[in-house]
Symmetry: C2
Subunit: 124 residues, 2 copies
């Protein structure tokens, strides 16, 4: 009845590396028309997240790398969770997207308030 995250998430997910410049996130957001970039190390371990909000507020500062603006304590979803639980988690943290992890802790997708809002618009 309530969909699971795996049914509405976007995959594959595009990620960035912490030493990449902030301009790289800007380029990715521009090319793909989205706002969320999980940051991983070269072994694909999740280290942080950067959103267009982080890049926007870095305007006019001297910050250079993604590591300097990323949020390190990342709130995530598991692909088998029901969407209503994820909607509550987004609201609780005042954020608009969650990287989705599998049972091994690997990032397999991303789910956002845009994906959840789509469900409300479905014609019955």
């Amino acid at each position: 009845e309530v969909p699971l995250v795996r049914e509405i998430m976007t995959k594959p997910v595009i990620t960035g590396l912490p030493d990449e410049p902030i301009a790289r996130a800007a380029k990715i957001f521009a090319e793909h028309n989205f706002d969320h970039l999980p940051i991983t190390d070269k072994q694909e371990k999740l280290l942080g997240i950067v959103t267009s909000w982080d890049v926007a507020i870095a305007t006019g500062t001297k910050k250079k790398k993604l590591s300097e603006i990323m949020t390190k304590k990342v709130v995530v979803a598991n692909e088998d969770e029901p969407v209503d639980a994820v909607a509550r988690r987004l609201q609780q943290h005042g954020i608009s997207g969650l990287p989705v992890t599998n049972t091994k802790g690997e990032v397999v997708g991303i789910v956002t308030t845009e994906d959840i809002s789509k469900l409300v618009g479905r014609r019955r």
Copy 2:
């Protein structure tokens, strides 16, 4: 049964002027933890919209004013519309928020995918 926009929108709405610097939008986003800034003239006529995405992709460019990065053809909602129609409009345009206007065309609030996603998270 389906809520109306007026029941879930945020108000009052904070707006910017077209000749203000991009840094002003960055400051407003940082202070208020949101991503959408409708742009109006001094008579409060709606001229455009700037989101954290617009500010993010302006990184490293020579743009200075909000007028240089705003989207001029603004997609809006009316406060008496049902939320499911608004959810479809957001999805259709690939955007995450709509300024809300009243019958006089004045901007009275803002509604986003975060507001709509909240409804999915409601405990029944």
